[in-house]
């Protein structure tokens, strides 16, 4: 997994407020409420964003965020610092979301995985202008397109491209093969490309 995006900044912010993450962890192990709250505040956005993107539902994302932090705090006494705290927490949050989706009977990988799609090779429509996305992807459009992905594609895309997990880690978490994870990711990106192009074409035709 690649380095965390915001954790260092947050940890420094915490230092400015006289309580570092490491100190908060030690105090939380002693049952200090303020320390629990400091840790929650440091990581709530990242965990919540992950849950929200995975579920595309505010209430469900809040419940899962709550559950992830509760699981973390229940086990905090066992945290020995071998890995970064944020990595530990994040992995726990992913597992909470996956477990919840399993409970609901939702597929973690797309059921379309064995289907041959026509998207495998680039299509050329005679006379059609080939719109390129590179350099012009709008963040909001991308967020919206991710939300429109089928759940199975969305899961692998989020874990790999947004959260930075490797295919072997995803395969282990989701319970699929590495090849399957790669295939799902590719299909997710292809679908996103299609959605972003459609979105751009619709915008272009608007007065």
């Amino acid at each position: 997994m690649r380095p965390e995006k915001s954790d260092l900044t947050d940890a420094r912010k915490s230092q400015g407020n006289r309580l570092t993450e490491a100190e908060a962890i030690e105090r939380a192990k002693q049952g200090d409420e303020e320390a629990f709250e400091v840790l929650y505040r440091l990581h709530k956005r990242r965990v919540y964003s992950l849950c929200l993107r995975m579920t595309a539902n505010t209430a469900a994302a809040e419940d899962l965020t709550q559950e992830a932090f509760l699981q973390l705090f229940r086990k905090i006494a066992t945290f020995r610092g071998e890995s970064a705290f944020s990595t530990w927490l994040h992995r726990m949050a992913v597992n909470v979301v996956l477990m919840q989706l399993r409970k609901k009977g939702l597929p973690l990988v797309s059921l379309e995985e064995t289907m041959e799609t026509e998207e495998e090779s680039p299509k050329k429509e005679p006379g059609a202008e080939d719109i390129r996305l590179a350099g012009s992807i709008n963040r909001l459009q991308l967020e919206q397109a991710i939300g429109d992905l089928p759940p199975g594609y969305r899961m692998v895309f989020l874990l790999h491209d947004v959260e930075g997990y490797e295919h072997n880690e995803i395969a282990e978490m989701v319970g699929c093969s590495i090849g399957n994870s790669k295939s799902q990711l590719h299909k997710a990106r292809m679908k996103l490309r299609e959605l972003l192009k459609t979105s751009r074409a619709e915008k272009a035709t608007q007065p």
């Binding site: 964003s49 932090f69 495998e120 090779s121 299909k187």
Partner: protein, 216 residues
């Protein structure tokens, strides 16, 4: 390598930039190189997505309640000399809910009074959903003098918490402002009214949590 063959092996080549056959094909095929460029751009942009969504205050509130019920949060030990003042604090503890109720009641009353009733605004087809954000949108929402005082109290007892509560108050005030706008635009819209009530409840929750931090 044809475009079809390239398309078949593309998922397997993910992240592999040293495949000579692939590179050779990409040099000669603008369609496939365009596709790869687009997919790489999507992937690169996804890495930059930020965590700008904020859970509502109820999440921490619920976590804190659960931690207390499970005995994971322990009350700090109070030295014998302070036992008297703790007792006084206990005797005054009833003031807390009363104060919260007064603050919330007053806020509700004032906010509802400020919303013009029956304003001649055309009802829109859909009510926009206010969302708690921390990406700067709505962060211009001022905090009033009472809230500053509350933050100062928090700061005096738990300095590490001040910035967090200030951020929460600004976010929830922005949420209230958005919700009020929705109600003004759609005075008969039950969903908009519900959002506004939720927003007030969230502010009450932030007040309550901040007061817990501020009081002995």
């Amino acid at each position: 390598m044809t475009c079809e063959e390239f398309g078949r092996v593309l998922p397997e080549l993910e992240g592999d930039h040293h495949n000579s056959e692939r590179e050779e094909h990409l040099k000669t095929c603008s369609s496939c190189s365009g596709l790869v460029s687009d997919l790489n751009a999507i992937s690169a942009e996804a890495r930059l997505l930020v965590e700008d969504q904020e859970p509502s205050p109820r999440v921490w509130n619920s976590i804190a309640i659960a931690l207390r019920q499970e005995g994971l949060i322990r009350d700090p030990e109070v030295p014998a000399l302070l036992a008297g003042s703790r007792l006084r604090g206990w005797r005054l503890a009833w003031l807390r809910p009363v104060a919260i109720a007064l603050v919330v009641g007053a806020a509700l009353f004032l906010q509802l009074e400020h919303i013009p009733r029956g304003a001649p605004v055309a009802r829109q087809a859909a009510t926009s959903t206010p969302v708690l954000r921390t990406d700067g949108v709505g962060q211009d929402s001022a905090i009033d003098a009472d809230e500053v005082q509350l933050l100062n109290l928090v700061s005096s007892r738990a300095p590490a918490m001040r910035a967090g509560y200030e951020s929460d108050l600004r976010a929830v005030n922005a949420y209230i402002r958005d919700a009020e706008t929705s109600v003004r635009n759609n005075p008969n819209d039950g969903i908009a009214q519900q959002y506004l009530m939720n927003a007030y409840e969230q502010r009450a929750m932030v007040y309550e949590m901040a007061m817990k931090r501020a009081l002995p």
